[in-house]
Amino acid sequence: MTETPLIGSALIDTAVAQAAESPLAGARIGVVTFPGSLDDRDAARAVRIAGGTAVELWHAESGPEALRGVDAVIIPGGFSYGDYLRAGAISRFAPLMEQIVRAAGSDSAANLLPVLGICNGFQILTESHLLPGSMLKNDHLKFICRDQKLRVENNSTWWTSEYAAGQEITVPLKNQDGQYIADEKTLDALEAEGRVVFRYVGANPNGSRRDIAGISNAAGNVVGLMPHPEHAVEAGYGPESASGRSTGTDGLGFFTSVLNHLVGGTK
C-alpha cells in the first residue's frame, strides 16, 4: 500500500514536499482503513496539514510488520462493515486490531503507541476494550450532522496537549450511534481519574451520559471521541467559527499535539 491522495496524483508531491520541510515530518502516523471506513483520507490529510507523514494501514494485515513501524495510529470514522451487528463489533476482530491493542497497552510506558479513535474509531476502541463504555443510537434516533462545541476537560493526553484545559473548541459531529454509555461506577472512575477528555457544551446532541464526548485510557495515549477533529483543520472546509463561514480549524490541535509529543517529547 502506498500513500494515495484523495483525488488524483498532484497531491502526493505537494504533501511530500510539505512534509519534508516540516520538523514534524519524521513522525509517521498510521491511518487504518477497514471496509466501510469513510474518513480515512480526511484523517490522513489532517496529519499532513499538521506537518506529519500519514501512512496507510490495512485492516487485514497481520503480524508485527502490519503496523509498518508507525509512531501513532488513527482509527478513522465511517461505517466499517456497515455497522452491521453493532458499530465496531466486527472491526475489532481485524488482524491489525490485535497489533494495535497490544502496542497501545504495552507494559512499558515508554513504548506506548498513541491511538486516536474518531467516531467509528471510538466505537471500535470500546469494542476492543481499549476504552470503557459503549455507544447507543442517538436518543432522538436520527443521524445528526452539526458543528458541535466541546470543552477540553483534560489537556494532558497525548492528543490534547496543544489545548488549554477548559478551552472550548468547535468541530463537526456526524453520527447515528453517538450516545455514550457506561455504568455509574465506570463513569465515576472516569471522572475521578480525569479521563473524561471532552464534554459537549450546550444542548447534549445525543443523550450521552454526563455530556461525555470523548475519553482516554489511564495512560493517556489512547483517546476516543465521537466528533470529528479531522474535519476542522483547513479554513474553507471546516465548521463555522466565530468569524463565520467554515473557517474553523479547532481540530488541528489533536494532530499537532501528538506530533509534538513524538518529535519533541517536550509537552
Partner: protein, 773 residues
C-alpha cells in the same frame, strides 16, 4: 468465493428453450402482466420470427418499458441534441446516451453528473426506495470511471399536514441519509417542497457528481472478441423484480395489490466496498468496459454492453451467484438487486481482476464472453434460452409519437391572475401587516428552514465541501493543489410549469443557472429529471413536449448543454397527474473554490445591493400559494438578462468585489433578506422606497414578487465603486438598498417594520420540527 458453481440439480425448471419456443408457437405468454402492449408483443414475435421464450419475454418487457426505453419521450428528447451549438459542445467529453454525461473542467480533470428519479419505489417503501435511488445514481457515476464526490436530493412531498406525509418524510430522509452517509458522500444540497399535488406520488430525485482524470473515462461497451464478461458485487435476489416495468412505468391504482416486492433493498456497505474496488480496477486498468446494474438488471447490462460493443455476447446464466436459489431464469434476468456491476475483462487481466476482488472481499462470477456474432446468447446449463439481436432489446424498442394537445382549461387558469383574484384581497399594505406577512412566509412549509432534513446528511465527509445547504449551490473542491472545483444546484417549480410548461422549464433552468453563478462558478452543463404524469394523457403529453421544448431552447440561449438525465412518467394517482416538474441541475466550475461566494451576511457595514428589477409577478408565487391561489402566468424568463446577471456575479466573486450573494427566487426579496440575516445571525438595515419608485411597485410587491434575474449582494466598502462601475458598464440595474448591521440583531426595513432575528429564527426554524419531531 469466486466462480462458485451453484448446484444446478436443485434448480431444474421447465426451461423454455429457444428450440422449444420454435416448436410451440401457440403457447400463450403473460406479456400483458409484464407490462407489454399487444402491438409490442407482436413486434417481438416479428423480430424473432417466432414466439419469445419466457426469458426473452422477460428481457423485452423490462427493456421496452417506459422507464428503460424512453419510448414516449424519445421523439421529444432529440431536441437536446439537435439544438446543441458548437459553443455548447466546447466542454463536452461525453454526451447523452451513456450512463452519465462528462464535462471537461480543465487541468485534465473531468466531471460527470446526473440526476435520476426514484419516485414510485419511494412511495411504496420510503426508506428503501429513497436509499436505492442514491445507490443507483452513484453506480452510474462509478461506471463512467469516476470517484463519486457528492450527492444532492430534490424532494417533493404532499401537504405537510396530511396524515401520510410524515411517513414519507421520515422514511425518505432517513433512507437518503442512511445510504449516502454510509457511502461517505457529502450531501451538499437539493430541494424540499410540499404541495398537495404530490400527495400520492412524492418525487424523490437523486443527483450524484463524480470526478476523474480525462484518461480514466470508461464507457459501457463490450469490445474485443474473447474478452470475459464478469458479474460482481452483491448476489442476485428476488428483490426489485419488475421494478422498472411494473412500478416505474404505470400509474398507481389503489385497487391493485401492494407493489412492495417490486422495490429493491439496499446495502450501502456493499456499495461502498464496490466503489473502492471499482476505483482500484480503473487505476489498475483491468476493465475494458463496465456497466452498472440498475433498472432491468442483467437484461439491461448484457444487452447494452453487447449492442454498444462488438455486437455479440455469450452468457451462461447458471453462473450467476444467487441469494435465492429458487429464482427462475426470467427472474434472474429481471431482478433489480442492488450493488451489482458487470465488466468486460481481457483474458490477460483475469488474475489481476480476481486479486482486486479478493482484496475487497467482493464476490464475482465469470458469466461468459464477448463474441462477434451479433447475437446475445444466454444459456441455462447449456440450453439456449435467449437468442436475440441485442440492439433490438436495448436500442430498437418501440417509439411512440403520442398525441398531445394544449389543455382547454389552461386559458381559464392563465386568465385568473393573483392580483385580480379575491385571494389578493387584504394584501399587506402597512408595516405591521408586512412584518406579519414576512413571518408567515418564512414559517411556511416551502420557505421554512430545511435544517431538520439536511442535519441528517453528512456534508463534511471527504473534506472538500466548500458550500452546502442552505447556500444557493453546493460547492466541492476537486483538486487540492489548485483549488479547482465545481458548483451544482438543482431547481424546479411545479406551479410555474403548471401555469406554463414552456416557461416553467426555462424558469427552472434560469434559477439553477443563477444559483450556480451566485456561488461564483461559471455554468458549464445541465442534467435534468423530467417528472410528469401519464404520457397516455394528451394533456400531460403536451406539458411534457412544451417542457422539453422550453428547456432545450433555454439551454441554447444560455449556451449550456444537457449532458444526460432521466424521464419519469406516470407520476399520477388515479386520473390526477402531478404538476409538471422538470428538475434541472446545473454544474459550474471555479478555477479556485476559495473564491466562492457564500450566502449570508457577516461583515458589519458592508453595502447591500439589489441587482435587477421587480415587476408585479405574483402569479404562481409562494405568497399566492399561501393564499390558495394558482393562476395567471409565471414570471417572465429573460435568459439574456440571466446571462448578464451571471457575468456580474461571477466577476464579482473572482475579483473579490462581493462578499456574499443570494439569488432571488421563491419567496422573493423578503425570503432573501431574512435568510441572509439568519445565516450567520447578522442583521441589516434596508430601505426599499427608492427601488419601489424606480420599478413602479409597492413595498409588498417588491418584497414578495418573484421576478427573475435578480440577486442581492453584499459589497465591502472598499469595492463599492469598482462594483457599481461594473454594473453601470454592463448596463445592469443595481441599487444600494441597505447596509449590514452586525450589532442590531434585527432586520429593519425602514419605514415599514423591524423584526428581531430571534423572532424570525423561531418562525423559520420551528416548522419542520413541529410536524416531524
Amino acid at each position: 468465493m469466486s466462480g462458485e458453481r451453484q448446484t444446478v440439480e436443485t434448480r431444474k425448471f421447465n426451461i423454455d428453450t429457444v428450440e422449444h419456443a420454435a416448436h410451440t408457437p401457440q403457447t400463450s405468454l403473460p406479456w400483458a402482466e409484464l407490462g407489454l402492449k399487444e402491438n409490442e408483443y407482436n413486434e417481438v414475435v416479428k423480430i424473432l420470427g417466432r414466439r419469445p421464450t419466457a426469458a426473452e419475454l422477460a428481457m423485452y418487457s423490462v427493456m421496452w418499458s417506459e422507464h428503460c426505453s424512453y419510448k414516449s419521450s424519445k421523439n421529444h428528447l432529440r431536441q437536446f441534441g439537435d439544438k446543441v451549438t458548437d459553443e455548447m459542445k466546447e466542454h463536452l467529453l461525453v454526451g447523452i446516451g451513456e450512463n452519465a454525461g462528462v464535462v471537461d473542467i480543465g487541468d485534465g480533470w473531468a466531471v460527470t453528473f446526473k440526476v435520476e428519479s426514484h419516485n414510485h419505489p419511494s412511495f411504496v417503501e420510503p426508506y428503501q426506495g429513497a436509499a436505492t435511488g442514491v445507490g443507483g445514481i452513484v453506480r452510474d457515476i462509478i461506471s463512467m470511471g469516476a470517484r463519486p464526490v457528492a450527492v444532492m436530493d430534490p424532494l417533493r412531498f404532499g401537504a405537510i399536514d396530511h396524515p401520510d406525509t410524515a411517513r414519507l418524510v421520515h422514511g425518505i430522509v432517513s433512507g437518503i441519509g442512511g445510504y449516502g452517509n454510509c457511502l461517505g458522500l457529502p450531501n451538499i444540497g437539493g430541494e424540499v417542497v410540499f404541495d398537495a399535488v404530490y400527495q400520492g406520488n412524492p418525487l424523490v430525485n437523486a443527483l450524484a457528481v463524480g470526478v476523474m482524470r480525462h484518461e480514466d473515462i470508461r464507457l459501457a461497451n463490450a469490445s474485443g472478441v474473447g474478452n470475459k464478461v464478469v458479474l460482481f458485487g452483491a448476489r442476485t435476489g428476488g428483490d426489485g423484480i419488475g421494478g422498472a416495468s411494473v412500478l416505474a412505468s404505470e400509474s398507481f391504482d389503489s385497487a391493485k395489490p401492494s407493489k412492495r416486492p417490486a422495490v429493491q433493498v439496499g446495502d450501502p456497505f456493499a456499495e461502498k466496498v464496490l466503489i473502492e474496488c471499482c476505483l482500484e480496477l480503473f487505476k489498475a486498468s483491468v476493465v475494458e468496459g463496465i456497466q452498472d446494474l440498475g433498472a432491468a438488471g442483467i437484461s439491461c447490462a448484457t444487452s447494452e454492453l453487447a449492442s454498444n460493443g462488438d455486437g455479440g455476447m455469450h452468457v451462461e446464466l447458471t453462473k450467476v451467484l444467487l441469494r435465492d436459489p429458487s429464482l427462475t431464469p426470467g427472474e434472474i434476468l429481471m431482478s433489480e438487486s442492488q450493488e451489482r456491476m458487470m465488466a468486460v475483462v481481457t483474458p490477460d487481466n483475469v488474475a489481476a481482476f480476481e486479486s482486486i476482488m479478493d482484496k475487497w472481499a467482493v464476490e464475482y462470477s465469470w458469466l461468459g464472453e464477448v463474441t462477434d456474432t451479433g447475437r446475445l446468447i444466454i444459456e441455462w446449463d447449456g440450453e439456449k434460452i435467449v437468442d436475440v439481436d441485442p440492439r433490438t432489446v436495448a436500442h430498437e424498442g418501440p417509439v411512440y409519437d403520442r398525441p398531445f394537445h394544449r389543455p382547454q382549461w389552461l386559458d381559464g387558469v392563465q386568465a385568473d391572475t393573483f392580483t385580480s383574484s379575491p385571494a389578493a384581497a387584504g394584501r399587506p399594505a402597512d408595516g405591521a401587516a408586512l412584518a406579519a406577512a414576512v413571518l408567515e412566509l418564512m414559517a411556511s412549509p416551502n420557505m421554512c428552514s430545511k435544517d431538520w432534513v439536511t442535519d441528517q446528511y453528512d456534508r463534511y465527509v471527504q473534506g472538500n465541501t466548500a458550500l452546502a445547504m442552505p447556500d444557493d449551490a453546493g460547492v466541492v473542491r476537486v483538486d487540492e493543489s489548485t483549488g479547482l472545483g465545481v458548483s451544482i444546484s438543482t431547481d424546479a417549480n411545479g406551479r410555474y410549469s403548471y401555469l406554463n410548461p414552456y416557461e416553467g422549464a426555462r424558469l427552472a433552468l434560469a434559477e439553477s443557472y443563477r444559483n450556480v453563478a451566485t456561488s461564483g462558478a461559471r455554468p458549464l452543463a445541465v442534467t435534468d429529471c423530467l417528472n410528469f404524469g401519464s404520457p397516455e394523457d394528451p394533456e400531460v403529453m403536451w406539458q411534457f413536449a412544451e417542457s422539453v421544448r422550453g428547456l432545450s431552447d433555454g439551454c441554447r440561449e444560455l449556451g449550456v448543454p444537457v449532458t444526460g438525465g432521466n424521464v419519469s412518467l406516470y407520476n399520477q394517482t388515479g386520473g390526477v397527474a402531478i404538476h409538471p416538474t422538470p428538475v434541472v441541475g446545473v454544474l459550474g466550475v471555479f478555477d479556485d473554490v476559495a473564491r466562492r461566494t457564500p450566502s449570508g451576511w457577516v461583515e458589519d457595514g458592508q453595502a447591500i445591493y439589489l441587482l435587477g428589477t421587480t415587476a408585479d409577478e405574483l402569479d404562481g408565487s409562494e405568497w399566492a400559494n399561501l393564499r390558495g391561489h394558482l393562476g395567471g402566468q409565471p414570471p417572465k424568463a429573460d435568459l439574456s438578462l440571466e446571462r448578464q446577471l451571471g457575468g456580474i456575479l461571477i466577476n464579482g466573486s473572482r475579483d473579490g468585489m462581493v462578499d456574499s450573494a443570494h439569488d432571488l427566487s421563491e419567496g422573493g426579496l423578503a425570503a432573501v433578506l431574512v435568510e441572509s440575516c439568519l445565516r450567520f445571525n447578522v442583521g441589516a438595515r434596508v430601505s426599499v422606497a427608492a427601488v419601489c419608485e424606480r420599478d413602479g411597485v409597492d413595498a409588498f410587491t417588491l418584497l414578495f414578487s418573484e421576478s427573475q434575474a435578480r440577486a442581492v449582494v453584499a459589497v465591502p466598502r472598499s469595492e463599492e465603486i469598482r462594483f457599481t462601475d461594473m454594473c453601470t458598464a454592463r448596463a445592469f440595474p443595481a441599487v444600494r438598498i441597505g447596509i449590514v448591521d452586525a450589532e442590531s440583531g434585527s432586520l429593519h426595513v425602514q419605514g415599514q417594520f423591524e423584526l428581531s432575528l430571534a423572532e424570525l429564527r423561531v418562525a423559520h426554524e420551528g416548522t419542520l420540527p413541529r410536524y416531524f419531531g
